[in-house]
Symmetry: C2
Subunit: 386 residues, 2 copies
């Protein structure tokens, strides 16, 4: 086990009807900005519940934060925050809205001239403008971590940011929101959370027995509940386990004391930036080739995963590891998630070269848990996804 | 899954050499009280490491906090805290020292006349005097929770207290401390953590699939590492997994959204108060009879535990559940933990009546996950432990 530091101060309010309790978590004298996305919260009852809970506050609204939160739009919100003296934000939405609000939390107190520098220069935020969240789409774990990914159309870039000042003060997780989520987004959420766990787990054995078992617990739970959610998204028990699993998949706990991979995300982000493919689907596109290409380095953990999560009980390490990759692809397919780039675009040709070149340009010379994947390796892996 | 709130703000510094980093976590102008137990930290090198780390601070020492932290001794420390204007405490020790410091954290800011009321009247502490910990004995999880148990010899009482103000600000977990722990205390630590998990897990199915799997993960990890720790306590990897498992066993995570039992602790505390038996050993004494007595209510979870933790693959639910209890007793015996009260005292007779009467006197009329165990049930369960 590696040395680690762990602190996660976010307060979780989990369960039926918890939206009604959020006002108790916000300072009474706060000037609140309520931020949301495309407006689905207005048709599923969440907006009304939130507005009722916020009735005692002075609230400014900012809707329209898109999937893959866009820098130019967030800059409009930043202008309002500064001009109106907003002191607290409430993000109501999925990972995109919450990630966008994290950028605003950092940017509102940033003293430099150009907020994009927070992303470009990887500036860690030690203190941000406080905010809470009401999660409407289980997937990214953003409701209980301090990371964020922001997109800038102008430059076709998608970059990550974070820092200890960017944990939500509180997050409301009411599993009842799951029933109004479209099937496509539910499948994305399951795939996203599943891959988050794998990025932190599918490396090499390092003797972190408990972290391994926690990671496997989340994977097993997602495998258990996925068919129930897909069959009936109003199944509260399945929804609750799905929601809590997504949060635990990326709240820092399972990554402590172990190496991380995250190369799948690095490559996947480029596919979203280039083609607009849903984030989760880009992960499902990259993952199989990535594990095949790095098979020797990962086969022990792949076999352990195959045994413990998929019940593969016979065969050599190599055979079990291969079956584990196949089982993962089958799982994505069971969610109607396609796993080839050509399923999403007719323009595969040249993609690998472009991504590899971008990594070279950014100086991303060592990806993966061994920091050993070069842009040349990235070229091969992305080609395997066509 | 039940509704829940979860917040755990303690910062963990985990791994080799982390004691050296603790000064960064304490405000520079703090007037620090360093508290410890019987002095073992002076022979195992921890005291020296802590003193070096604290060299920049004004430090007052208070040693001699006993196992089952004693109210009268803590009152001496409280007097010094108040008279010398201590602003920060550092607990260096196991659960007893940390629990004692939590009482002091609450008592230092308590405005009533009689600090014992914090325990007797179950007063929740919203804000305490800040403190950090350096854990020297993995077992109780006190290093990452807000609970404490205090003993008062004068009245033969052992009572619990807590509140959101009593989380340690930080805790240092260096698994290297494990190698100097006597075998008896290692066995106690493993038994204590194992039983903590069972108290939160061995109730009835409530559809909290992830919490179940997390609980099983901790149990499985303890089963895996226990023989290694007993064989060679200098095995760093085993020690690290043991230490992190003990913390995760009682930091609040696995109890969220599920019912809790805790009747074993309630009865066990009385055995410690009456006979001075080590806390962990009282749990091993009460547990088998408690599960046999409440077999019908718990058999589904017992069978699940038998299957997932002990690999019991055949038999009816009843048969698997019974085997699971036997396996647990065998596990305690493998640690040289005796599981009968008569192994510890010749004076069993009358114990059950006395404990049952105490519960009646305190108005503890409904123990266990169904709040259904009466003092008459307690009488039977304690008798089964003789």
């Amino acid at each position: 086990m590696l040395n680690f530091e762990f602190k996660n101060p976010t307060k979780i309010l989990f369960g039926k009807g918890q939206i009604a309790n959020l006002a108790q978590e916000i300072p009474q004298d706060a000037k609140v900005m309520l931020l949301y996305g495309g407006g689905s919260i207005k048709s599923n009852g969440v907006y009304e519940q939130v507005k009722n809970a916020l009735s005692v506050f002075n609230v400014v609204e900012f809707g329209g934060i898109p999937a893959n939160p866009e820098y130019a739009i967030l800059m409009e919100a930043l202008h309002i925050i500064k001009s109106q003296g907003i002191t607290y934000m409430l993000a109501v939405g999925g990972g995109s809205v919450i990630d966008g609000v994290k950028f605003l939390s950092a940017a509102a107190l940033y003293e430099g001239d150009e907020p994009w520098d927070i992303l470009k220069k990887s500036i860690k935020t030690e203190q941000g403008l406080p905010f809470g969240t009401v999660l409407t789409l289980p997937a990214t774990g953003s409701e209980m971590n301090s990371g964020s990914v922001i997109t800038r159309k102008e430059t076709q870039e998608k970059l990550a940011m974070g820092g200890p000042g960017l944990f939500p003060v509180f997050s409301v997780l009411d599993p009842q929101v799951v029933q109004s989520i479209p099937m496509r987004q539910l499948a994305n959420g399951i795939t996203d959370a599943f891959t988050h766990v794998l990025e932190q787990y599918m490396t090499y054995p390092i003797g972190a027995l408990l972290q391994d078992r926690f990671a496997e617990s989340i994977l097993q739970t997602l495998v258990d509940v996925a068919p129930k959610i897909i069959k009936n998204s109003a199944d509260y028990e399945a929804a609750a386990n799905f929601m809590w699993s997504c949060t635990m998949a990326l709240n820092g706990l399972i990554q402590k004391g172990v190496p991380g991979d995250w190369a799948i995300h690095a490559m996947g982000h480029e596919l979203t930036a280039m083609f607009g493919i849903d984030h989760a689907r880009t992960l499902a596109v990259i993952l199989p080739g990535h594990y095949q290409y790095n098979f020797e380095a990962k086969k022990e953990k792949l076999a352990q995963y195959g045994q413990r999560v998929w019940g593969i009980n016979s065969g050599t390490t190599d055979e079990m590891a291969k079956q584990a990759i196949e089982k993962t692809v089958e799982f994505f397919h069971s969610l109607e998630i396609d796993t080839k780039l050509s399923d999403y675009t007719a323009d595969c040709e040249g993609t690998a070269e472009k991504i590899s070149q971008r990594f070279t340009d950014r100086g991303w010379l060592g990806l993966g848990e061994h920091k050993s994947l070069s842009p040349a390796d990235v070229l091969e892996i992305v080609k395997m996804s066509y």
